[in-house]
Symmetry: C2
Subunit: 166 residues, 2 copies
DNA sequence: TACTAAACAATCGCGCACGATTTAAATGGA
DNA sequence: TCCATTTAAATCGTGCGCGATTGTTTAGTA
């Protein structure tokens, strides 16, 4: 393989170099934005005793319970090596229960406890509070969300392709 | 303070709820995109023996060396608790040197070694290879980059504000 | 029915990320 | 000059994130 790369559209070398630079900045912006966003969630989630990934897991479980570890992993894009300890921490905090599925002993069913359900009420104010932190107006938010959603689904496909090649 | 939140523009409750939902999805999309992007960098960076944050640190050092730990932290948005061990690993790999600044013994100067400089040549093909993974055309890339850059600089401001309140 | 393969969660090791604290050096007055 | 304050990096503890491996259960098949 040479440095010749198959791009979707024909471009001059100068345009190509510019796009390359841009994608590098884009990746870094994504990395930065994700970290900053997590930091802004922290003061909102600390009172609930949750981290951002734990909050995501609870959101998923409030939507659908019981869920298996695998289903949560699918929803959040995380694997069992990440989720198992995270769920154990939620369990230790009394927010969820974990039990083997009697119908298939390979699976583990996760479910909010009463305390975990009660937390949902406290968590209702989080999204609106977070919105106040976001520095974009509704239109920009919409545009960013739209492009980013396409981006993520494309990345997911690329990632799945990579995973199937071994 | 009540649940009444000060948003930039006046909206009906229904619109407000929609935007709240959107920002939640946006944050998750950001979180997912960042993780996916790191995963896609991995096969490109593994041959270089770098992780993505290490790659970012080397990019910064290739641009400007020597840099202090604080300058790198400023550039990458990381603090010394993250950078010190990361830089020690790069040092252990023979890619950078770390030494106290003789003019100010509080500072530590970090600089690529010859091996670290040589790595730059190998790393030249990374951005173009990464670009092939990205599922957007040049225009979308540009638009995403533009919105995201505004977003990040806004978040940075919000984050700085939060930091100054204690 | 055996025996292999696949699916699922858990575990291990390593690296990032950060809040809080500590140590050391420089700075700025009284 | 002396001392309090500030600045810079390192350290500690906890929690994500994941590649690789392991153990167990289920499914598929000869």
């Amino acid at each position: 393989m040479t440095t010749e790369t198959t791009t979707r559209s024909k471009q001059t070398p100068a345009q190509f170099a510019g796009v390359v630079k841009l994608d590098q900045q884009l990746c870094f912006a994504l990395y930065s934005a994700s970290g900053l966003m997590t930091r802004l969630y922290r003061p909102l989630l600390d009172p609930l005793g949750l981290t951002y990934p734990q909050y995501l897991a609870m959101l998923a479980l409030w939507e659908r319970a019981p869920s298996t570890v695998g289903e949560l992993g699918e929803a959040l894009g995380l694997d069992s090596a990440t989720l198992t300890p995270l769920l154990k921490r939620l369990e230790a905090g009394g927010l969820v229960t974990r039990r083997r599925d009697p119908a298939d002993e390979r699976r583990v069913l996760v479910e909010p406890t009463a305390k975990g359900q009660a937390l949902r009420e406290q968590a209702r104010s989080v999204p609106a509070a977070m919105l106040c932190n976001l520095p974009l107006d509704a239109d920009e938010l919409k545009s960013l969300h739209h492009t980013l959603t396409r981006f993520v689904s494309g990345l997911r496909k690329a990632d799945a392709g990579r995973a199937n090649r071994d």
